[in-house]
């Protein structure tokens, strides 16, 4: 018997600034959609994992695992909470993947959630900053956008990346999100608007940055031999990899490449027995547009320094050779921190099942997601296939 891990169903809440909903509402909403989509009886679920970065600071509530199991009416099954900053969602998927692989669990609910809009802007900025090295970066005035601005300025100097290039991920991802009813921004943004938006931390602008978002997403995953009971269209997690880099950006030899992404992607492709050319659709962590440019290079779609050019040539658009962020990405789907890594897998599953409506990549069979924590101190890569 093979011991692959299967995805039986997916779901997510609407992403956005959801003033009328609290953390438990959105978590439960995603959980319910997911369980209905999977067609799994609640009594078959023997474990639950939730990814969340900072509910304690954003909402005052911790112990989210117990809360989610309690609300979902899943009885007394084990509930695990995992945290890896902006990669908390990916970490939750990987935790569940390993739990099934090991034989400890058979059918698990994986959730990711974050409620960010209940705190003021300062508290939100401080909370996001603790994903980097708070004592030696944030304390000295390096905001999270400033750290990505450090990368952008070096990338521009070392490789000639331009302000136009920096705007392209935003334009593409907003265009994709028009067709995603769960996205925070279902509207296109012209390049001139991106390039004239207010500066956050030079050279990065407001429209290069993912927004403050509330939202949750979920998966039901299980042993391969059980999945046929639940669905005729199972998707499989072909591989799951995770790598670590220095917490502080200034401790890295180069800040124009994410070593953690390069190595986790290589291992994930090897583990799945695939090459990059076999991948049909990707979700890459575009918390800032320079991030998508660097990831386009680090996963191997473009040579180092040519990520901006790849965007210019349309290689990463729907219809291009390697469509990236068909969901709208973090920029336009929204970035509820702990939910993002799960929502990336939700999008890939919809694409592989052929359920992605007007943003469908024709005949997609394999998908790859990169979920980053902090400024790349954590990279989690999943490859899914049908």
């Amino acid at each position: 018997m093979s011991n692959r891990v299967a995805i039986a169903g997916v779901g997510m809440s609407k992403f956005g600034e959801l003033w009328d909903k609290n953390l438990r509402d959105i978590t439960l909403e995603a959980g319910m959609y997911t369980i209905f989509d999977a067609g799994v009886p609640g009594s078959d679920i023997d474990g639950m994992v939730i990814g969340n970065m900072s509910a304690g600071r954003f909402t005052g509530q911790e112990h989210l695992g117990a809360q989610a199991v309690d609300l979902s009416g899943l009885g007394d099954i084990p509930a695990y909470s995992v945290e890896a900053a902006c990669a908390s969602g990916g970490a939750a998927v990987r935790h569940a993947y390993m739990s099934i692989k090991s034989g400890e669990h058979d059918v698990m609910l994986v959730l990711g959630s974050e409620k960010m809009s209940d705190v003021n802007q300062t508290e939100a900025m401080n909370t996001i900053s603790v994903a980097s090295d708070w004592e030696w970066e944030g304390m000295f005035g390096a905001t999270f956008p400033a750290l990505y601005a450090f990368m952008a300025r070096r990338h521009m100097m070392e490789y000639g990346t331009t302000e136009e290039h920096l705007a392209l991920p935003t334009v593409k991802n907003h265009a994709n999100a028009v067709h995603n009813e769960f996205a925070q921004f279902q509207r296109a943004v012209p390049i001139e608007v991106v390039m004239k938006s207010a500066l956050l931390a030079d050279p990065l602008r407001v429209l290069h940055s993912s927004p403050v978002t509330d939202g949750a997403a979920g998966l039901v995953i299980c042993r391969e031999d059980l999945v046929k009971k639940y669905t005729d269209a199972p998707i499989y997690i072909e591989s799951s990899e995770q790598r670590t880099d220095t917490l502080a950006l200034h401790d890295r030899k180069s800040i124009t490449t994410f070593n953690s992404v390069v190595s986790s992607t290589k291992s994930a492709l090897k583990g799945a027995g695939l090459e990059l050319k076999d991948i049909d659709v990707l979700e890459l962590h575009d918390s800032f547009s320079i991030g998508e440019i660097m990831l386009t290079e680090d996963v191997g779609i473009a040579k180092k320094g040519e990520g901006g050019k790849a965007l210019e040539e349309g290689i990463t658009e729907i219809g291009g050779k390697f469509p990236v962020n068909t969901s709208g990405g973090l920029k336009a789907r929204g970035h509820p921190i702990g939910a993002t890594g799960v929502a990336q897998i939700v999008e890939l599953v919809l694409q592989l099942r052929g359920d992605a409506d007007k943003r469908q990549v024709d005949g997609a069979e394999k998908g790859l997601a990169v979920n980053l924590g902090g400024t790349g101190a954590t990279s989690i890569v999943h490859i899914v296939g049908r």
């Binding site: 401080n126 004592e135 030696w136 601005a149 956050l200 931390a201």
Partner: protein, 140 residues
């Protein structure tokens, strides 16, 4: 919040006031802040305290135009990664220069400044910022 505690700042003042770090004698690498273990040599490493000279050049920088309350009064301010002459990088503000004149590669030296106040009536954090070196003072 925890990070507003006096002890959290106090226990780091040697690093924050004097740029004290350490160096691994085995592989001749300097660390700032001091590392408990040399990540290259691990148990073969031999760590010694080291006070950085405070001279270096700008590796990358940004001008911060949206900041948390603690830094609002200083906006817009320049934050940079400085590559110290010993080869180690750190993150600090650049002062005594028009933000628009800052460039990658510019020579800078450490100066002692107020970093921030933790809210109204909160403790004041002091530490290093960097300023352009000026030939007239004999530094380079």
């Amino acid at each position: 919040m925890a990070e507003q505690g006096v002890a959290q700042v106090w226990r780091r003042i040697r690093s924050m006031y004097r740029i004290e770090g350490n160096k691994c004698v085995t592989c001749d690498t300097h660390f700032f802040p001091p590392r408990p273990v040399c990540p290259e040599c691990r148990r073969k490493g031999n760590l010694e305290n080291y006070t950085f000279k405070g001279l270096g050049s700008i590796y990358t920088f940004s001008i911060v135009r949206q900041a948390p309350d603690d830094f609002k009064r200083q906006m817009p301010y320049v934050i940079a990664q400085i590559e110290l002459d010993e080869g180690t990088r750190l993150t600090a503000q650049i002062v005594n220069i028009d933000p628009e004149d800052v460039e990658i590669g510019m020579r800078v030296r450490a100066c002692f400044r107020k970093i921030k106040e933790f809210g109204h009536g909160g403790i004041i954090v002091y530490g290093y910022k960097f300023e352009p070196t000026m030939k007239v003072t004999g530094h380079e």
